[in-house]
């Protein structure tokens, strides 16, 4: 689905620029903000088909915003990205209803794939995608993860 409106919240300007360009090239309409309050206003106004949000922002933690967004607009897919490399952040994001967690720095192509998938089936939570390494629950050594990490994992609903 191209031509969707994507709401991006990240307090890092460089990341906003990159997301803006990468998604605009896919034909999406991108709106970016550096704080959680603006993102919340947009969501509350019923804008956007997808949210991509950072965790640590100056005014509010993106994870705290998640349940509120889910309550108001349960159908709106949310992708959480963070520079925190702990598995805990990933688990927490998924528990709170995030469609996908992307550890920074991520590969632009992975991002585009995730966005496409989220827009195509916003309502159908995918089954756990990770079949490799059954002993490592929640770990996925092959999926998109932080581009650099040997701890490549991803949690998907």
């Amino acid at each position: 689905m191209s031509g969707a409106t994507i709401l991006v919240a990240d307090d890092d300007r460089a990341i906003r620029t990159v997301l803006n360009q990468a998604l605009a090239r896919q034909g999406h309409d991108v709106r970016t903000t550096g704080n959680a309050a603006t993102l919340w206003r947009w969501v509350a106004n019923g804008e956007g088909n997808l949210v991509i949000t950072d965790v640590v922002m100056p005014d509010e933690n993106g994870l705290d915003l998640l349940p509120r967004i889910k309550r108001l607009r349960p159908e709106l897919p949310i992708v959480v990205m963070s520079a925190h490399s702990t598995l805990l952040t990933a688990i927490k994001a998924t528990e709170l209803g995030a469609y996908e967690y992307l550890p920074k720095p991520f590969d632009i192509n992975d991002l585009v794939v995730v966005v496409d998938r989220a827009l195509a089936a916003p309502r159908a939570p995918a089954a756990a995608s990770c079949s490799a390494s059954p002993s490592a629950r929640g770990r996925c050594p092959t999926g998109p993860g932080s581009t650099c990490s040997h701890r490549r994992w991803r949690i998907r609903r």
Partner: protein
């Protein structure tokens, strides 16, 4: 100093002779002050600067010729706590020290120093001002405590990783976007940017892991499953260049430890082995065995310990460079162009936390790293 405690009588005598020789040509006091790494400023009773050492020239970003004969309050801000310290000493205190004094340099660069002001005996009003600039770690620590992020090394590493990864995301993303329309030649450059940012990212990831002091969960771990996992990971990135041979003792009991950490340890060692392979390919032998007789005394441990579980990684690569051998497990020791030198130090740290140790033998064509671990029964290390 401490070396003297263990040295024998003969070497002590030799050292005494050497000291005697040194005393004959001792440097004068000026040379000593000049050699001090920290800024030193001598101020007379009228607040006029009479002497600065080279470190002070650097600190105040001006030559001694300019600094000398200036008034102290022209070097620092008029409201600097330093002036109050000087006044205190003139009021009769022999010496005062103030920690964490903020100073602005002539170019308005904010710096934090510890300042010590000492009275010069028999010279009315003359004082010696010594400054010591705070290290980056101390400054970072202070900033972190402002943020309430904690003062631990782990806290610093985590905050640093976070701060570094955000700009890295921007750089990496921008490079990838440029790549989409780049010529073949330029694509080589954008690839370079993404690869190098990934390297920085790996480095901060490792630093974070390295300083991680959270307690980890321990369970009985099947070390063969761990080895299998590691082998697959390495095989997928090194491909056919490496042939694996497995020599496992199937009766080996489980290791009591943290699986992910043990994967990390063996991954670092097997990766090193794979990276040491000759061009045409090579062989890595993964082996486990039970050596009930093995007793080792570990640094910091109480007495000799039994470490009967042995996991070894052997390769037929070029061997560990001779000059690295003594410091191989120290952080940042690397013989590789792109190496961070953290792999083995991290492995050593984790294994030590598991109550074990790592040893190695290396010569060209045959290098073996061995992880020795204690036996556990019923959840308790023996």
């Amino acid at each position: 100093m401490t070396a003297g405690v263990t040295a024998g009588a003969a070497t002590a005598a030799a050292r005494k002779r050497k000291h005697q020789a040194a005393r004959d040509s001792a440097p004068d006091s000026d040379a000593i002050v000049r050699a001090l790494p920290d800024p030193v400023v001598l101020v007379d009773g009228d607040d006029i600067v009479r002497y600065v050492n080279p470190a002070a020239e650097q600190f105040f970003e001006a030559g001694a010729g300019i600094l000398r004969d200036r008034r102290l309050d022209q070097l620092v801000q008029f409201d600097s706590p330093l002036l109050a310290l000087v006044a205190k000493v003139r009021d009769g205190l022999a010496a005062v020290t103030e920690y964490g004094v903020d100073m602005l340099s002539p170019h308005r660069r904010a710096r934090t120093v510890d300042a010590q002001v000492t009275a010069i005996p028999d010279a009315a009003g003359w004082v010696l001002v010594g400054l010591r600039e705070r290290t980056i770690a101390q400054k970072l620590d202070r900033q972190l405590s402002y943020l309430g992020a904690g003062r631990s090394v782990a806290g610093i590493a985590a905050a640093l990783a976070h701060e570094v990864k955000n700009p890295l995301s921007g750089i990496r993303g921008a490079a990838q976007l440029l790549e989409q329309n780049a010529s073949l030649a330029d694509r080589e450059l954008t690839r370079l940017i993404t690869e190098e940012t990934d390297r920085i990212c790996r480095l901060v990831d490792r630093m974070e892991m390295f300083s991680n002091d959270h307690p980890v969960e321990r369970t009985p771990v099947n070390i063969h499953e761990v080895l299998d996992h590691v082998r697959r990971l390495v095989q997928s990135s090194f491909g056919g260049n490496v042939r694996f041979v497995e020599r496992y003792d199937p009766s080996l009991p489980p290791v009591f430890g943290n699986r992910d950490q043990l994967v990390q340890v063996l991954l670092n060692m097997v990766k090193n082995a794979a990276e040491a392979m000759p061009e045409g390919g090579g062989e890595i032998i993964l082996a486990t065995k039970f050596e009930p007789g093995l007793r080792l005394s570990l640094a910091g441990g109480n007495g000799r310990q039994r470490l009967p579980l042995v996991v070894s990684v052997r390769d037929n690569g070029g061997g560990v460079p001779e000059d690295l051998k003594a410091h191989l497990f120290d952080p940042f020791v690397s013989g590789k162009a792109g190496g961070t030198g953290l792999g083995l130090s991290l492995a050593a740290k984790i294994v030590a936390e598991h109550g074990g140790g790592i040893e190695f033998d290396s010569e060209p064509g045959r290098t073996e790293f061995r992880v020795l671990l204690p036996l556990h029964s019923d959840g308790e290390a023996v």
